[in-house]
Structures are given as structure tokens and as C-alpha cells.
């Protein structure tokens, strides 16, 4: 049974087709990569799936831990908000969008716990320390402000802040974008091990085929608002059927 499903998703931005008849499924515990060039609609699809952007047509279904199905875009704002703070997570390409830059690392990680009602300072701080360790940030940085962190550290802090409530589903938008190659590698490794260990389902948007191959179980290729090919990552990348996928794959190899 799917965890998240999009059916017949369409979206137009003032004459430009951003999404055209998109169907997509996500199963529990799996990582789905959505790849394509910029302008392909992949970020738009991510925003529609996560309820941040309403489609012109189509529906997004989410199955909650009690097995009830919800129409994400028909949910009342408070309910969607609660979902985003507990069961779901969103990792932005720019970590500053999801961090409080004037609040310490510990405060940033602890916030979702406090929003859920955690009221023991020691426990909150303990959880923050635990998560900083899991994302390989030194414990003595817990009271430091994020503005003293490097780009890679900020991204890892964002991940800690997002995963602290053990979400079942995380949306990631180019999580390694803008980072050094070596920093990227380390971050990808971290994401892969955390996601596998915690059995989190992930929808990952990336323009980088290599990232998709490293992390994702399944891949969906987008071109001009449509999904042109979808399947197990290795199968699609080793034996691309659609001409566009072939182009994408071959341009990576020749690079």
C-alpha cells in the first residue's frame, strides 16, 4: 500500500505548463528520486506533493499511521501544519530557509520536540546532543549560533532538526546543491545511512543522476512537466528506454 500518491496532477503558471498529467507513487521506507533539468517541473512536483502548492487538477493522497487516507490539498491548514511538524519533514536546498539563524544549534534541533509538547529541558537538550552526534556535528557546538557554521554543517543541522521527530516521510529539494564535492559525498553518505536505519520514505529532487543512483531505490525522470520514465534506479539508468532519459544518462557518462 502506497504511503503517498499523486494522480492526474496538472499545474499551469501563466501559460507555462509546469505539471502535465503526473502520476507518482511512494511506498513506505523507499527513496524515490525525481530527476530532470531545471525547468522540468521536479521542484514544482515536490511542492505539490508536500501540500505547499495547489495543483490545478489532480489529487495527492497520504496514508497516515492509522491507515487513514487523506487528500493533502483538502486538509485544513492546521492539520497540514501539524503533519509538517511531526510525520513529515522538508529539507531545503538552502538550509537557512529552515533554520532559525539567531537561535543556537540545540534550540534549532529541539524546536520540533517542544512544538509537540516536550517540556523537560534536560531531555530536549539530550535529544539535541544525540542528534548532533548522528549528523556528525561536534557536541560542543550545541550552543553556537548557526551563522558560525559552514555550508555543510548547516545542511546537517537542518537534517537533524527535521529528523528529530522521526518523520515517516521526508521531502528533499537538492539537499547537496551548492556544496563542495567532498562535502557532498559525506552528506550523501549520512543521508543514506540515516534514511535506511530509520526506514524513512523520501521524495528526493535532484538534477544530479549520480545522487539518484547513490541514494534512490526508484527514479522518475521528468521533462517539461511530464514523467517520461519511471522504475528501479539501476534498471532505468543502465537501460534507459525514453530518448530523454538516454540523453540525460549519456551526458553524465561523457562528462
Amino acid at each position: 500500500m502506497t504511503l503517498l500518491s499523486g494522480r492526474g496532477l496538472n499545474l499551469d503558471f501563466g501559460g507555462i505548463t509546469a505539471l502535465a498529467d503526473v502520476d507518482v507513487d511512494l511506498w513506505p521506507g523507499e527513496m524515490l528520486a525525481i530527476v530532470g533539468e531545471s525547468g522540468s517541473g521536479k521542484t514544482t512536483l515536490l511542492n505539490v506533493l508536500s501540500g505547499r502548492l495547489a495543483p490545478d487538477a489532480g489529487v495527492v493522497w497520504y496514508r497516515d499511521p492509522n491507515d487513514h487516507r487523506h487528500d493533502v490539498h483538502a486538509m485544513p491548514a492546521p492539520a497540514l501544519r501539524t503533519l509538517h511538524r511531526s510525520d513529515w519533514g522538508f529539507v531545503h536546498q538552502d538550509p537557512r530557509q529552515n533554520l532559525r539563524m539567531a537561535v543556537s544549534a540545540g534550540g534549532n534541533v529541539g524546536e520540533r520536540l517542544m512544538a509537540q509538547g516536550a517540556r523537560h529541558y534536560g531531555d530536549i537538550r539530550g535529544a539535541a546532543l544525540d542528534w548532533l552526534a548522528q549528523v556528525e556535528i561536534d557536541a560542543n557546538r550545541i550552543d553556537d549560533l548557526p551563522r558560525t557554521f559552514s555550508g555543510g554543517m548547516l545542511q546537517r543541522l537542518q537534517i537533524a532538526r527535521t529528523l528529530v521527530t522521526h518523520p515517516r516521510l521526508v521531502f528533499m529539494d537538492e539537499p547537496t546543491g551548492g556544496l563542495d564535492v567532498s562535502v557532498q559525498a559525506r552528506l550523501l553518505d549520512l543521508i543514506r545511512s540515516l534514511v535506511a536505519r530509520l526506514r524513512i520514505a523520501v521524495v528526493l529532487v535532484t538534477h544530479d543522476i549520480a545522487v539518484a543512483r547513490l541514494l534512490a531505490h526508484r527514479i522518475a525522470v521528468m521533462q517539461r512537466g511530464r514523467i517520461v520514465e519511471t522504475g528501479l534506479t539501476d534498471q532505468v539508468l543502465d537501460d534507459p528506454r525514453h530518448p530523454y532519459t538516454q540523453l540525460l544518462v549519456s551526458s553524465v557518462l561523457s562528462a
Binding site: 501544519r81 537561535v103 534549532n108 524546536e111 517542544m114 512544538a115 523537560h120 529541558y121 550552543d143
Partner: protein
């Protein structure tokens, strides 16, 4: 006072304010916008409290007005005079005698009764204003009960100072739903708000908001289980009446560091002194 309606405000305005008060009582701790009028006292001098009092005052009411806990601070005197002139109601300095108490920055020491109403003067009704200046934003936060910003601030205090650093206007959760500013009363007074038998009304004239706590409502000061809320007070007895459980003013008596600590609540202090003689 010739030419003015009872308690200054015209009846339409009073009705408008009372409708706001009813809404406020129905949703404890929620800020209700109201069409605040320009009053003969400046914004910041208690126009919100005055408009609320003017709207609920009846000819039989007995009014007490205090500022910093005292009946004879100049602003309390000025407001009491205003109502004496415009409403002709009986005024008093004895908390027990009053039916309506208008206050700035203190709650009387004596426990209030079910037949009393306390009206607080509020400068800044938005408890989140220092963390988020945009009212559009804070309105959304209240609507969604999204108070993460405040919790984080308290966490940061403990991380930085080892304790929560707020000593007055200490934020409270009302009825476990709305985050509220109790007005700039010292944290010491917060516990009095919890399950108070009297009706508590709050008026912010300049910011044009009214809010309320109905009698017998839960009011909880934000804290952590392992860093519980603690009231701050000078660690001395009152130098005049000997009270050890009332909030104290610190008086500078000489230029060699001499200090005298005296009850801020002048009526309470006077009552205790009388009882002692």
C-alpha cells in the same frame, strides 16, 4: 461633568466595547480587535483600561485604581479623578470594598472575589512581539497554536543564563490554548491569575485589543519541568508592616547604599499595620 455621557464614552461606543468583551470572555486569552477611541489621556497612559472600565461601570459600582500597586501614584490619582468626574461613582482605596479594580502593573495581594472585576492596563497585548514584530505573522501563529518561537526563546535563556530570564510580563498559556501577555505585572503576580475567582479583563488602547480570562480559568506560566517557573521578589520582609509574602518596592534611603523594602500594595500594607495596632 456637563455635556458628557456617564463615564465619558457614548453608549454606542460602550456597546461596541462590550461586544468585544463578550467575545474575549468566550475565547479566553484571545486578542479581540476593537475600535479604540482617542481619550483625554494619552495612549500609553491607560486608555485601553479606561475604555474597558468605562464600558462596564454602573452607578452602583465602587472603583479602585492602582498603579504600581499604589492608590496614590500620580497616574492612578489622575484616572480615579477622571471617573469620579465623569461617572460620579464611589471610589475607594480598600481592595475588599471595590467592585471594579483598574490596575497598572500589579495584582493586589488580597485574593479577589467572584463579585469583583479587575481591569488591567496593557501596553503591548502581543506576547510574541519581541520575537516577531509582524502582527500578520503573530496572528497566524495564534490561529494555528504555533508557539515554537516562544518555547525556543525559553530554551535559549536556560542554555545561555542557566535560567529563564523573563522577570515581568511573563508569558502564560490560558486555558491551555492561547499564549497571552499578562501585561507587565511582575512574574511574582502570575500565580494569582490561575483559577482566580474574579473576572479579569485586559484593555490595550493604542494597540486596539481587548482580551479576557473568565473566572476559574487555568493560567499556566510557561516553563520546563526541570526548570519550573519561580516568582522573583526581594528577599526581605516589608520594613513597615513585616509581611514576608507580598511584593516589595525598593526605596533608596541614603547615598551610602541604604535601602528600605516596603510593600508595593499600599492598601495591603496599611491594612496589616492597622491590624497590628
Amino acid at each position: 461633568m456637563k455635556g458628557y455621557n456617564f463615564a465619558y464614552l457614548d453608549e454606542q461606543t460602550k456597546r461596541m466595547i462590550r461586544r468585544g468583551l463578550l467575545k474575549a470572555v468566550a475565547v479566553p486569552g484571545h486578542q479581540v480587535p476593537f475600535g479604540s477611541r482617542e481619550m483625554p489621556l494619552p495612549y500609553g497612559w491607560g486608555t485601553g483600561g479606561i475604555q474597558v472600565t468605562a464600558s462596564i461601570l454602573g452607578a452602583e459600582d465602587v472603583l479602585k485604581v492602582i498603579d504600581q500597586g499604589a492608590d496614590d501614584t500620580t497616574n492612578a490619582v489622575s484616572i480615579r479623578r477622571f471617573f469620579a468626574r465623569t461617572a460620579g461613582v464611589r471610589t475607594t482605596t480598600a481592595t475588599a470594598e471595590a467592585t471594579v479594580i483598574q490596575t497598572r502593573h500589579r495584582i493586589p495581594e488580597k485574593q479577589l472575589r467572584e463579585d469583583q472585576i479587575i481591569v488591567y492596563q496593557v501596553p503591548q497585548p502581543e506576547p510574541l512581539y519581541r520575537l516577531e514584530p509582524s502582527r500578520v505573522e503573530t496572528q497566524r501563529m495564534h490561529g494555528l497554536a504555533d508557539y515554537g518561537l516562544m518555547h525556543v526563546k525559553l530554551y535559549e535563556d536556560i542554555a545561555r543564563f542557566g535560567q529563564i530570564s523573563i522577570s515581568y510580563d511573563y508569558p502564560v498559556m490560558v486555558n491551555e490554548r492561547y499564549l497571552m501577555s499578562p501585561s507587565p505585572i511582575p512574574a511574582f503576580d502570575n500565580p494569582k491569575m490561575d483559577m482566580m475567582p474574579a473576572l479579569q479583563l485586559f484593555g490595550a488602547g493604542r494597540e486596539k485589543r481587548i482580551y479576557a480570562i473568565p473566572p476559574w480559568t487555568r493560567v499556566r506560566s510557561l516553563d520546563f519541568v526541570d526548570h519550573p517557573f519561580r516568582a522573583i521578589n526581594a528577599p526581605h520582609p516589608c520594613g513597615v508592616c513585616g509581611a514576608t509574602d507580598s511584593y516589595l518596592d525598593e526605596i533608596v534611603t541614603d547615598d551610602r547604599g541604604g535601602r528600605l523594602f516596603v510593600c508595593s500594595d499600599t492598601d495591603h500594607c496599611a491594612e496589616r499595620r492597622e491590624a497590628a495596632t
